[in-house]
Symmetry: C2
DNA sequence: TAAGTCATGTAAAAAGTTACATGATTCT
DNA sequence: AGAATCATGTAACTTTTTACATGACTTA
């Protein structure tokens, strides 16, 4: 069982869905912190089914191709429940921008400033996107986004982290750009 | 050229080193944001050499196995310089704790609290580690950690990001634990 | 005497990406 | 007429991890 399996089970714990449907949902809420391609997802669904964690029913549709609707078995639900609280191995630290930063001292400062400004922009855009979704949840009638037993709380919690992350990242990019600009000025003088 | 190649070049741009040496240095400064195993690093060094980005000299040692000391060629330096300011593809968003969080609504709250408390601890430890290194740099005689053309600035910049990241992550873990505790209390009543 | 450090690798398996492949319907 | 959406996959390749393999010297 790889993390992707739990990503898929996490979606199916909320509602039965087709493979195509799962792929869409892997983009929007889960895609913020976990990613996979269709070419990995389709075979993985077959494996999950072979392992007994999910089952499918083929649904014929008028005017559209047939689809396979997957739903979680009791075994799937149990596996997910267990994994959620299982200890983690130290996270896979991978941030290509940090890797670039480590060698930024030999870059042309003006090009580097552009890079960090562009990254700042990207993180500000994501921040706005997350904040919009969070605001919608906070403003909704039923306040179950604060009830830990509710799926909406889980989604809300990941958003909170996303918001802090993007805000911090954007701020740091701005600091980097400013530092590099000062450095370029000094070099020119 | 995969990012790991630039991680290795980033180290060799500072000083010539043996493979073993590079592996150590991949742990301490670069390991904070990029990771690779020896079994990937050794073959990768051979590939970098075949491509003309690095060369090695075998150094015999008394009482120790021979070692290969690698140094960067001009081509390697040029490749690194270019890559540093090359645009990035959207980052590989992978955080297993967020994936767990997405399904935390069906977990046992008390076990979940433990998980987040443990994670908070882990991030606080890293925070302390980064802060210690940053404080050492800030207190040092030559203040080149603020001069963008200096390798030490590059390392300092990554540390600044690490500090903000760990602090934010630890805070969020604490919020999660608190939310889950309240939820567990309510369930018990 | 046992564990740790220095030193370099290979083999096999797993995970993930890119490209290929098809085809009907609906919207602009 | 062309692009987008619904719908499911396979093949080949690249990247990464895990396990295997060796051996001398140093420190507790």
């Amino acid at each position: 069982m790889i993390p992707l399996d739990y990503a898929l089970l996490g979606l199916l714990a909320r509602a039965p869905r087709s493979g195509y449907d799962l792929i869409q949902h892997m983009e929007e809420p889960i895609g913020f912190f976990w990613h996979a391609r269709r070419s990995q997802i389709y075979p993985e669904l077959a494996r999950l089914e072979a392992a007994g964690y999910i089952t499918h029913t083929t649904v014929a549709q008028r005017d559209r191709p047939d689809k396979k609707v997957y739903e979680m078995t009791e075994a799937g639900r149990a596996a997910l429940r267990e994994w959620v609280v299982a200890p983690l191995r130290p996270p896979a630290d991978r941030d290509e921008l940090m890797l670039k930063t480590y060698s930024v001292w030999l870059a042309d400062p003006e090009q580097a400033v552009e890079l960090f400004r562009a990254q700042e922009q990207l993180h500000l855009e994501r921040l706005a996107q997350y904040e919009a979704i969070a605001a919608r949840m906070e403003g909704s009638a039923e306040a179950d986004h604060l009830r830990p037993g509710a799926p909406r709380f889980a989604a809300y919690a990941t958003l909170r982290r996303g918001i802090a992350y993007e805000r911090g990242y954007a701020e740091w990019c701005r600091w980097m750009a400013a530092m590099l600009e000062d450095g370029a000025d000094e070099q020119r003088r």
